[in-house]
């Protein structure tokens, strides 16, 4: 039986810890506080995006994507940041399929982040 290493390699990690820590002054408890804030805000934004996609409101799709992108970047969440960028572009390009794809990716990446944080304990 082969032992599977459950730890994400640094390049696959949903969060770039060293970068995030440096940005917020190397205060780990504050980082976790911010991640909680991010998680709360994420839920509201995803709901907003679903509604915007249903209504074909491309302005809101772009704005919410932009906002998520910024928040993800601040906490060094590279995959969420990329998905949010795709959402922002989808809004700008008025591309509904792209927006739906980006929404699905955002959901997956968010779950990865939650699992990762749960493992770190």
């Amino acid at each position: 039986m082969t032992m599977i290493n459950n730890e994400s390699s640094p390049e696959n990690s949903p969060i770039d810890f060293p970068s995030a820590m440096a940005r917020i002054g190397n205060d780990e408890s504050f980082l976790y506080e911010l991640l909680e804030l991010y998680k709360m805000d994420f839920g509201a934004k995803i709901e907003g995006l679903q509604k915007a996609i249903d209504l074909k409101d491309f302005v809101s799709i772009q704005e919410l994507g932009h906002s998520l992108k910024g928040a993800s970047a601040n906490l060094s969440l590279p995959f969420l940041q990329k998905a949010a960028l795709n959402m922002e572009c989808a809004g700008r390009e008025k591309n509904l399929d792209k927006a739906r794809g980006a929404l699905a990716t955002l959901g997956q990446e968010f779950r990865s982040l939650e699992e990762f944080l749960a493992m770190k304990g």
Binding site: A22, G25, L34, D41, A71
Partner: protein, 301 residues
Amino acid sequence: MIRVLIAEDDKLCRTILEKNLRKWDYEIISTEDGKEAWKVIQENNIQIAILDWIMPKMDGVELCQRIRGKKWDQYIYLIMLTVRNKQSDIRKGFAAGVDDYITKPFDTHELKARLQTGKRIIGLQNQLLDSQKKLQEIATHDTLTNLLNRYEILNILTDEFHRSLRENKPVSTVMLDIDFFKKINDSYGHDVGDEVLVEVASRLKGSLRRYDKVGRYGGDEFLAILPGCDLNNAKRIAERLRRIVCKDRIKTDAGQLFVTVSVGCVSSESQSHKSIEYLVKFSDKAMYHAKNMGRNCVIAS
């Protein structure tokens, strides 16, 4: 402590900024949109502002333009926080009046360094304002007595006189001259003479109403301006000034000296005193009349 405005709609970014700035000993006011930020800037003494480019109600560029379009008591250093890093966007930001900008997600050390630059600029500006204030003081005040100098007291008299005409109210002038001042200088020296001038000036200044003005008109002459004051009240105030000068001896290096003033006063109520030149001339004449009447008295013209 430098007061910094943070205008950022993203709660996460705003929280990170607030924590870092507090750690670096800045006083912070935070807002979530450009309109609120504009209100805060007008109502508070903001020295540095960190503005997000894209914000609800008013974006960062419009906010910069409004800030630069208004005159402020002191310069506000503007740092734009943005994801926009194209050359055209950078140029747009600087054209709007931004002093510096930092791209998101920002590096803390870079932000700290850029804020330090802002602090230096603010410091230089404060030094300049202080120097200007000191120069202004020197230009308008007598260096010995710290009263208004002749030039400035006459400027003020011009303003008060025209105001009195507009408002149809009188303005009075009181001219005071220290009695036997030449004798004080000759007997005790100019240093003692200066001590007497300083003390007389202080007593006069301390005895006037809040809105009256007094200046050193000549070597040992003082001119007081009493807005809204008719002749009866002018005589009363003049008498108060005379008594305050001679009431207590003046302490000098030559001992305690008894000093008096001769006082002349005039009001613009009278038709013949309806000009600045006449007010000065007749209060001066009245003062000389007081000298002839034995000194240490008040004569009203």
